[in-house]
């Protein structure tokens, strides 16, 4: 069988191999660019400038970091389990790269558009949880273990709202093939009809990526890096490669599923390069918001995080699936979806506000009644 690659007719396998190599190379460069961009954006949010001395505008900072990491000694604790410790990073970043198979950058710039694209994506990316636990357990370090267990609990809990949000959109679109989904959004992007699913997907994606406010597994001020604490040098950088690659892929999936990918709003008229720029812009918007949230918001504690997923996001995602189903079966107008979506977003916002802010009584907490304040003096609060 032959496949068409930029006008050349190639054997299917060769074509797949070339596309893979192209995308993996692109990814490495993109990840380094994302790390640099994140540092610059965070710096601007903090009224600083960020990297500016390595290369013009500090553009070579990521290269310098990569060179430094390659030059570091590759440590392994003596009591660490050799196989799990060393294979852990691979189990984290290979599933992330597997997810790139189905994402379309531009019309035919992808590896393969599968009919079960989204499901494949979720299945592949959820394998990385194994890698986290391997890294944490294999390090033979308590901090790493705590971080790894937190990561596993969080990862598994937030898979469900993520999947259900995508399933909801899949029900609405009638397909899991990302290419077809994009084609269906040439007039109106899906975020208009599925705002609540978009918000749930966004929040669950933040949790899957272990970004603030869900970054307690790598909470730097507590478990000092979590499962990564015993890694150094290039092995450590694999974790970051995986994190930023996953971030990039989530932003591409978000823009493909909810924002119309490379087609909306300009359609097919303006050529491939413009479409690539459009995809980049949409992914960049997602990235900017993720970084913005990172530097504005504290992190949730593990029990708050888990209860938020199971008690708030999951029921609302189920309701979204239900409503999508009802509307499609009964052939009602799509405006109902929009109305429900807006109501749903409002409900999610309110419930989030209440649910996370309420003080909780924890089991085992020594509870003694507070003595009344002495009568003299001012009592302003």
């Amino acid at each position: 069988m032959t496949a068409d690659l930029f006008g050349l007719e190639l054997n299917v396998w060769a074509d797949a191999a070339i596309r893979l190599v192209l995308i993996v190379t692109l990814m490495t460069v993109v990840v380094m660019g994302l790390i640099y961009l994140e540092r610059k954006i965070i710096a601007r949010f903090n009224q600083r400038i960020g990297p500016q001395r390595t290369g013009p505008f500090g553009l070579l900072q990521s290269v310098a970091d990569a060179l430094k990491l390659v030059g570091k000694e590759d440590l392994r604790p003596r009591s660490a389990d050799a196989w799990t410790f060393e294979l852990g990073p691979y189990f984290i970043f290979i599933p992330v790269f597997l997810g790139f198979v189905i994402v379309p950058f531009v019309a035919d710039w992808h590896i393969r558009l599968l009919d079960l694209g989204l499901l494949y994506f979720i299945a592949a990316s959820s394998l990385s949880i194994i890698g986290w636990v391997m890294a944490g357990w294999g390090s033979d370090n308590r901090y790493a273990m705590i971080g790894a267990l937190r990561a596993a609990a969080q990862g598994i809990s937030y898979e469900l709202p993520l999947v259900l949000a995508l399933v909801a959109v899949g029900i609405y679109a009638g397909t899991f093939n990302l290419g077809e989904m994009i084609a269906q959004q040439d007039v109106v992007p899906f975020i208009v009809w599925q705002p609540m699913a978009a918000l749930i997907f966004f929040i669950a994606a933040l949790a899957e990526l272990n970004r603030t406010p869900f970054d307690i597994p790598v909470g730097e001020s507590e478990v000092v890096g979590g499962p990564f604490v015993e890694y150094s040098g290039i092995r450590w950088s694999m974790f970051f490669l995986a994190e930023y690659a996953a971030l990039f892929i989530m932003s591409l999936v978000f823009s493909a599923v909810f924002l119309g990918g490379f087609l909306w709003p300009f359609g097919d008229d303006l050529g491939r390069l413009f479409q690539a720029a459009l995809t980049t812009a949409k992914a960049g918007l997602f990235f900017f918001v993720v970084v913005w949230i990172r530097i504005s918001v504290p992190r949730l504690r593990i029990d708050q995080l888990m209860s938020y997923s199971w008690k708030v996001l999951l029921p609302l995602a189920l309701v979204q699936v239900l409503v999508n189903g009802l509307v499609l079966v009964n052939g009602w107008s799509e405006v109902i979806l929009l109305a429900f979506g807006l109501v749903g977003v409002a409900v999610l916002a309110t419930v989030t506000g209440r649910a996370v802010a309420a003080p909780r009584i924890r089991p085992g907490a020594a509870r003694r009644p507070l003595a009344p304040a002495p009568a003299h003096g001012e009592a302003a609060s």
């Binding site: 710096a43 601007r44 949010f45 903090n46 009224q47 600083r48 400038i49 500016q52 913005w292 949230i293 530097i295 504005s296 918001v297 916002a349 309110t350 989030t352 506000g353 802010a357």
Partner: protein, 162 residues
């Protein structure tokens, strides 16, 4: 969500403000005259010798004992044909910058206004590769004042100084 939105708007507002970064070392901000880096000895440009006579007042007053002072007879004294009225002059002087805690007491007790805290950037940029190089000898302590590169300000205790 309102509080989270407020936090995010606050950070967005700092996005719009001018960065507060000072690009050291391309830009050295001007130091105030009162700045207090490490001590320096002052050079009497008219008579062409240090002000310091080696009287040990600062050495005794120093809380961390970072100075070593040795005096000698002044070969430039009037009685032996010179033009100076200082009978004794400093012979050897060491200050260990690693021990100095920049408390200014040596400046306050000096009877001759011979020692002053360095209020230029050179006083702050004293990095060396070996700790022993932080023990400054007489020539190193005098060199900056001798070259005229010092912003002199010797505060008088208890009085208005500007």
């Amino acid at each position: 969500m309102k509080g989270i939105a407020r936090s995010m708007l606050t950070t967005l507002s700092t996005f719009a403000r001018k960065p507060v970064t000072r690009n050291y070392p391309d830009f050295h901000r001007p130091l105030p005259k009162t700045d207090r880096a490490f001590p320096l000895l002052l050079w009497d440009q008219e008579i062409d010798e240090p002000f310091c006579t080696g009287c040990h007042a600062c050495e005794r007053a120093c809380p961390v004992e970072c100075m070593t002072v040795l005096m000698k007879d002044n070969p430039n004294h009037k009685s032996v044909g010179g033009n100076s009225s200082r009978r004794k002059i400093i012979d050897k002087f060491w200050i260990d910058y690693a021990r100095c805690m920049r408390c200014n007491i040596c400046v306050e007790v000096c009877n001759f206004d011979a020692i002053s805290m360095n209020n230029t950037w050179t006083g702050h940029e004293t990095s060396v590769y070996d700790r022993q190089d932080l023990v400054m000898d007489l020539q190193q302590l005098l060199s900056q004042s001798r070259a005229g590169q010092i912003q002199e300000w010797v505060p008088v205790i208890g009085q208005t100084n500007d």
